[in-house]
Symmetry: C2
Subunit: 242 residues, 2 copies
DNA sequence: CAGTGGTCTAGACCACTGA
DNA sequence: CAGTGGTCTAGACCACTGA
């Protein structure tokens, strides 16, 4: 916090000041990608702080992908070579509620079935083993937004079939009832099945955004869900800032 | 590293050991969401390390969204309430090359045009101002995979039109030539335009995954791109592990 | 060899919460 | 008030790289 340190913005923790300073100069293009940046020792001198403080700032910038550090060599401005952004797959009920809209869920099916070979493989069960199945249409202000076709491993949520999914979404219930630890998903454009199209009130040829998601505990698969959205009514958005 | 500390795995830094221990117990469900976890002081005693070391482990777990910390109160197991995953939008050329396939780009248009009102607004230019435009079809092993309709702010990349986009993708060129700082995107299912369908060799009614992406420097918009992919040939995948 | 980052320590002061 | 986390310091030892 000495005169040589630029703009010592009041009330910001020292490590955050160092971080902000570096981020600003990176954003201004003062260190083009791949270029050697000031060493910890130089920043220590410049800001008159301890090395741990500078180190924290640099470690966090590294975690954010803005810089690269090599032991024994130095710190480099990172190549921003990919735009990686956080895509959040959330509970649809929350999403709709946040928009101030009304969410309604129509439960089309809620039953126990026998796992087909493919399904058993996906959930890590034996073919023919009992599996819980729900088919639910979610509406936003009365308009069908998502058709949720879901299979659940009974071992992970034994009470699944006893829930009233007109009141709680399966996503929400499973978040509460199970120890989610891992998830896997794919996002595709495709067509709804005939039944799904009917439930969504769209033409069978209408493009749909289809998300297939599997979640796991530490050990086993919890659920497999196919989420079909009319392309004209639902999209994903995101942004990326370092 | 005392006998009371469980499994002091050799050759892992102390902060990483603490982190791994907590992560393991969280994954095992030993601390259900919302529950009070050991304090820093308790972990200091348990692992016989300094508080800064424990603090680093906890801070990183917090950054990963696994725990929540409240000053004056304590550390709590987080509600894993959303599955947020890193979605990486990459250079298509790299993506195809990584699959060991052959990438080819057909440049359909490469020109200077005048910005329409809408486009000018998106790029922060005046209506009627000159804008660079390219229309390129990307093929994977000869099969059309993406139709890339892109507008570029001339101020950010004055030499854009002089590039040979059969050899370098616009994405790659712009990564090198500009100081990308922010990006925004949407992902939708929709239909290609008639022209796009012809270029992609699909029926105009075929569902497509459409990504619209805008990138920015610190100050101004760099580029607006509409990326149209045949739904049967392209999808996004991701996973999430804490 | 000097310079780099990776990590740790044993203390410190502080703001905050809840009893 | 005692307990919590947020942060900082001034030192330390180490592994690593390149000259």
């Amino acid at each position: 916090m000495v005169s040589s340190a630029p703009a010592p913005l009041a009330s910001l923790a020292p490590y955050a000041q160092v971080k902000q300073y570096l981020k600003g100069r990176l954003g201004a293009g003062d260190w083009p990608p791949g270029v050697l940046m000031p060493s910890e020792a130089e920043l220590v001198a410049q800001f008159s702080v301890s090395r741990m403080t500078v180190n924290r700032a640099l470690r966090e910038l590294q975690a954010e992908g803005l810089i690269e550090r090599v032991q024994g060599v130095g710190t480099f401005a990172a190549q921003l070579h990919k735009v990686s952004s956080t895509l959040t797959l959330r509970d649809l009920h929350e999403e709709i509620a946040e928009r101030g809209h009304h969410h309604e869920a129509k439960v089309v099916a809620q039953e126990e079935v026998r796992a087909t070979n493919g399904l058993a493989g996906q959930l890590g069960l034996k073919p023919g083993a009992p599996v819980f199945h729900t088919l639910i249409v979610h509406l936003e202000n009365g308009v069908p937004l998502q058709c949720e076709d879901r299979y659940v491993n009974p071992a992970c949520a034994p009470d699944y079939l006893a829930q009233d999914f007109a009141k709680t979404t399966p996503t929400h219930y499973l978040f509460e009832a199970t120890a989610l630890w891992r998830a896997q998903y794919s996002i595709e454009a495709g067509r709804a099945t005939k039944d799904e199209a009917k439930l969504l009130g769209i033409a069978p040829t209408d493009p749909c955004l289809i998300i297939v998601r599997r979640t796991f505990t530490t050990d086993s698969a919890i659920t497999l869900a196919r989420l079909v959205h009319p392309g004209t009514r639902y999209g994903l958005e995101g942004h990326f800032t370092p």
